[in-house]
C-alpha cells in the first residue's frame, strides 16, 4: 500500500489504527472526548461495533470477544473507566486471548466532564501497560503496538489519550492496510485462567507481578520511548501532548519522550538523567512520571512549577520554565481589553424539549425569577431537584436554576432516594435523560421500588444521546450503524419493575406538563413522568417562527425565564430572532406568555 497523507483527528486515527491492526469487535458508550472513535470504527463493515448500554457492559463485551480469540477494543472517556473498572481489573487478572485494548480519553481542563482525573493511576492499580500518543500519527501507529503488546504479554493494554489529542487534527501517513490474524475465533477452555474463583485468582496474582517485571524490562527498549538529543544543560522527560508544547517552548533541550508511561524504563531514565545537568518533567495533571522517577532516586523538578490542575499549553509551560529559572523573562506584552466581555456559555437550544419541563419544575419550585423580583435564595425552594449528566445539566444555569445536584451518570435517582430516607423535609424529584437512565439509572429505580421510595422521577426522553452528538441507545431502537434494532420501551421497562404511577407527556404541551408534574409530585407512591419530545437539533424541518406583539407585550419578562436564546432583548424591546426559533414544534413561549402576546410570525407585527 502506498503511503497516503491524511488530516485526521486523534480519534479518527485511533479508529483507523485499530482497523488496520485487525480489530474484530469494538464496543463503547458515548462520552466526550472519546465518542468519535467508535463512530469511525462502525463505518467499517467487517468489524462488529456496538453502542453498549454503559462502559461496564462495553468492557465485558470486548473481554468476551478477546476470550474468543479475536482482537477487541473498548473506548470510553476517563470517568467511563470508573464505571468499567470492575471488568477492567478482572481483564488484567485473567489476561486475554485475542489482543485487548482499552482506550481511555482523559479530559484535562474539564472541557466536558464532571471532574478532572488522571487515569494513568488505573494502569498502576491494574498492573497493565499504558501507551500515550502525542499526535494523530502516533495514535495510528501506537494502536498496532498496543494489540501486539497485549498478545505478547497476555494483558489488556490501556491507550490513554486526552481531549487535545483526540480532538486535534494532524497529518497522518497511513502506512498500513487491514491485516487479520490467520486464527479463527474459538474459546480455549482454561478454568484456571478464566474462572476467577479465589483458588484461581491466587494463582493469577503472582503471574500479574511477573508480567509487570517483564513489561518493565521491555520498556527499556520499547521503540515508543524515544530520546531526542539536544544540549546537555536541560533534559525533559515528557509524554503525549505535553511533548509538543515542551518541544516548542524548549527547542534546545534534550528530550526523553515516553510513548509507554507505565511501567517505566528504570535504566533508560537513569541513563538520560546522567547525561543532562538539570532534569524537568513536563506532564499534564498528576505528578505520575515525576513521583515514579523520584521513587527510583532520580533528582527531578516538575510539579513545583507546572500546575497539576487544568490543561497545559505552551504559555503555561513557558511561565513554568521562567519561574524555574530555565527561561528568560518574557518580553511578550499581555493585552488587556479594558472592558468586561459577557461570557457565552453553552445553553439549551431553542426548541429544546427539556426547556418546558424545567420551566415547570422551576415554577413549582419557585426558582426562576424575574430581574425585578426580590431576592430569595434557592434554600427557600419547596422542591429539591437531583440532576444527572447530559445536555439537561445546563438547566442548572440561570434563569431556570432547575437542578441542585449532578454527580455522575445515573446518580440522580439514588441521591433522591437518599435525601428522602434522610427525611430532608421537602419533596425530592430526580431528573435524568433517556440514555443516562438506561446507562445506570435503572438500577437506582429498582432500588427505589424495592425500598418503598416515594420520590418522583422525571425522565427527559429526547430519543437520543444528545450531549455527545446524537448517538443511538437501546431506547431508540437504532444501531450504531443506523440500522433497525430491538427497541427498549422505557414505560414498559419501568412498569415491568413494579412502578404503577407512570405518565408519558408531550414535552411541548405546557398545560399537560404542569398537570402531570404536579399530580406526580402529589402522588402517594413512587411516580415516574416520561417527558417525550425530539431533540431540537434533530427536528428535520423548522416550523413558522414565533414573534412578539409589542402592542400587547408589557415587558414582564416571563418568556425570558425559559432561557431560550431565540428570545432576545434590545434596550426596552423584546423580540424573537426568527433564524433561531424552531417554530410550531415548540411554541413553549407562546403557551406561557401571560399577555398572549406571542404567536406565529405571520399573525404578529413584531417591531424588529
Amino acid at each position: 500500500m502506498s503511503v497516503m497523507k491524511r488530516l485526521l483527528s486523534g480519534n479518527e486515527a485511533l479508529a483507523l489504527g485499530a482497523y488496520h491492526a485487525g480489530v474484530r469487535v469494538a464496543a463503547a458508550y458515548p462520552g466526550t472526548p472519546s465518542t468519535e472513535i467508535l463512530e469511525a470504527i462502525a463505518r467499517f463493515d467487517d468489524v462488529y461495533a456496538e453502542w453498549s448500554t454503559n462502559e461496564k457492559v462495553a468492557m465485558e463485551v470486548v473481554l468476551g470477544a478477546s476470550y474468543a480469540g479475536v482482537r477487541a477494543l473498548a473506548s470510553m472517556k476517563q470517568v467511563g473507566l470508573n464505571v468499567a473498572s470492575d471488568p477492567f481489573m478482572a481483564a488484567s487478572t485473567t489476561g486475554i486471548d485475542g489482543g485487548l485494548v482499552v482506550i481511555c480519553a482523559d479530559d484535562p481542563g474539564v472541557h466536558s466532564s464532571q471532574g478532572e482525573q488522571d487515569n494513568r493511576h488505573y494502569a498502576r492499580l491494574a498492573k497493565v501497560p499504558v501507551l500515550e500518543p502525542g499526535d494523530s500519527q502516533e495514535a495510528y501507529d501506537f494502536m498496532a503496538h498496543a494489540f501486539d503488546l497485549s498478545e505478547q504479554f497476555d494483558t489488556p493494554v490501556m491507550l490513554r489519550t486526552t481531549t487535545r489529542i483526540s480532538h486535534s487534527k494532524t497529518v497522518v501517513d497511513v502506512r498500513r492496510s487491514r491485516k487479520l490474524p490467520d486464527r479463527q475465533p474459538s474459546f480455549k477452555y482454561n478454568a484456571a485462567k478464566y474462572v476467577m474463583l479465589p483458588a484461581h485468582a491466587r494463582i493469577r496474582h503472582p503471574l500479574m507481578e511477573e508480567r509487570l517485571v517483564k513489561l518493565t524490562e521491555y520498556a527499556e527498549t520499547c521503540p515508543l520511548n524515544q530520546v531526542v538529543q539536544g544540549n546537555k544543560k536541560l533534559g525533559i522527560v515528557t509524554s503525549g501532548i505535553a511533548y509538543q508544547y515542551a518541544r516548542e517552548v524548549f527547542p534546545e533541550a534534550s528530550f526523553l519522550k515516553l510513548g509507554m508511561t507505565y511501567p517505566l524504563p528504570r535504566n533508560l531514565l537513569h541513563h538520560f538523567a546522567k547525561q543532562v545537568e538539570k532534569l524537568l518533567v513536563v506532564e499534564e495533571l498528576d505528578p505520575f512520571l515525576q513521583e515514579n522517577m523520584q521513587a527510583m532516586g532520580i533528582e527531578v523538578i516538575g510539579k513545583e512549577f507546572i500546575p497539576r490542575v487544568g490543561e497545559l499549553n505552551p504559555d503555561i509551560i513557558y511561565e513554568a520554565g521562567r519561574k524555574a529559572g530555565l527561561l528568560p523573562d518574557s518580553p511578550r506584552r499581555k493585552t488587556e481589553t479594558g472592558i468586561e466581555l459577557p461570557r457565552r456559555p453553552p445553553l439549551l437550544c431553542p426548541g429544546c424539549p427539556h426547556t418546558g419541563v424545567f420551566f415547570v419544575l422551576s415554577s413549582i419550585g419557585q426558582r426562576a425569577r424575574l430581574a425585578k423580583a426580590k431576592d430569595k435564595t434557592l434554600a427557600d425552594s419547596p422542591l429539591i431537584i437531583t440532576g444527572d449528566i447530559g445536555c439537561y445539566t445546563l438547566g442548572a444555569y440561570p434563569p431556570l436554576l432547575a437542578m441542585d445536584t449532578c454527580a455522575c451518570m445515573g446518580a440522580s435517582i439514588g441521591e433522591a432516594l437518599g435525601m428522602e430516607k434522610a427525611n430532608v423535609g421537602k419533596k425530592v424529584v430526580a431528573v435524568i435523560g433517556d440514555s443516562t437512565f438506561l446507562h445506570s439509572g435503572i438500577t437506582g429505580l429498582i432500588d427505589g421500588v424495592y425500598n418503598n421510595s416515594k420520590i418522583t422521577l422525571v425522565i427527559l426522553d429526547n430519543g437520543t444521546t444528545a450531549m455527545t452528538g446524537h448517538q443511538e441507545h437501546p431506547g431508540t431502537g437504532i444501531s450504531v450503524q443506523g440500522k433497525e434494532a430491538h427497541k427498549v420501551a422505557l414505560e414498559h421497562l419501568i412498569r415491568g419493575i413494579g412502578v404503577s404511577d407512570v405518565r408519558v407527556v408531550n414535552a411541548f404541551d405546557m398545560k399537560e406538563l404542569r398537570r402531570s408534574v404536579r399530580s406526580a409530585l402529589d402522588s402517594p407512591e413512587l411516580s415516574v413522568v416520561i417527558v417525550r419530545g425530539n431533540c431540537a437539533v434533530r427536528v428535520p424541518k423548522r416550523g413558522e417562527p414565533r414573534a412578539i406583539d409589542m402592542e400587547n407585550c408589557n415587558l414582564c419578562g416571563t418568556c425570558l425565564l425559559l432561557g431560550c436564546s431565540a428570545i432576545q432583548r434590545t434596550d426596552e424591546q423584546l423580540y424573537i430572532e426568527p433564524s433561531l426559533c424552531v417554530g410550531d414544534t415548540c411554541a413553549v413561549c407562546q403557551q406561557i406568555c401571560p399577555k398572549q402576546a406571542i404567536g406565529p410570525q405571520s399573525k404578529i407585527n413584531q417591531l424588529k
Binding site: 488530516l7 480532538h167 486535534s168 497529518v171 504559555d315 499581555k334
Partner: protein, 198 residues
Amino acid sequence: MNLLITGAGGQGIILASDTIGETALAAGYDVKKTDTIGMAQRGGSVLSHMRFAEKVWSPLIREGDVDLLIALEKLEAARWASYLRPGGIAIVNNHALPPLSVSLGNARYPTDEEIRSVLEQITDRVYFINGTDRAKELGNIRALNILILGCASHFMPFRVSTWKESIANRLPEKVRKINLTAFDRGRKEIQGVRISKS
C-alpha cells in the same frame, strides 16, 4: 502561519477551519488544528486553533502569536483579540449574537467602538465585513463561514483552485454551489473593505 477562527456554536467554525486545514495539507504543509467542541452545538463560544508550516509542534498557539484572527461574531473577536500579534490581521464579521446574559439584562454587549478599540490596540489591520448581510443576499445565511473564508483566503499562500477543491470535497452536493459562490463573493468583498481607523 497561525490562525484563530472563532464565533458562536452553530456558525460553522469547525467546517471553516477544517477547510483551511485540508487546503494547507494539499499545498504541502504540515498542519495541526484543534477545536473546543465539547458543547459547541449548544450555542457556546467556539474557538479553533489552526497552524501550518514546514513543521508544527503544538496545536495550541501562544498568546500574541496569531497572524490571522477570523471572527464570525464580533464579541468573540474582542474576546480573543489578545492572541493577535502586533501587526496581525483581524477579519471580523460585523454581526452581533448577544449571549443570553445580555438578553436577561445581567450583562452588557460591548459597543462597536469598544470592539474596534480592543483590536486596534494591537493592530491597525482590522477588516469589518458585513458577511451576514452578504450571505443573506446570496440566499443562504449558512454560507457565512465560507464567505468569510473567501475574505481570509487573501492572506494565505494557497491557490484559489486548491481552496475550491477542498471546499467541494468537504461539502455535500446540494450546498456545494452556493458555498463556492460565497467563497468568490468573500474574495471580492474584502477588496472593497478599507482598513478603518478611528
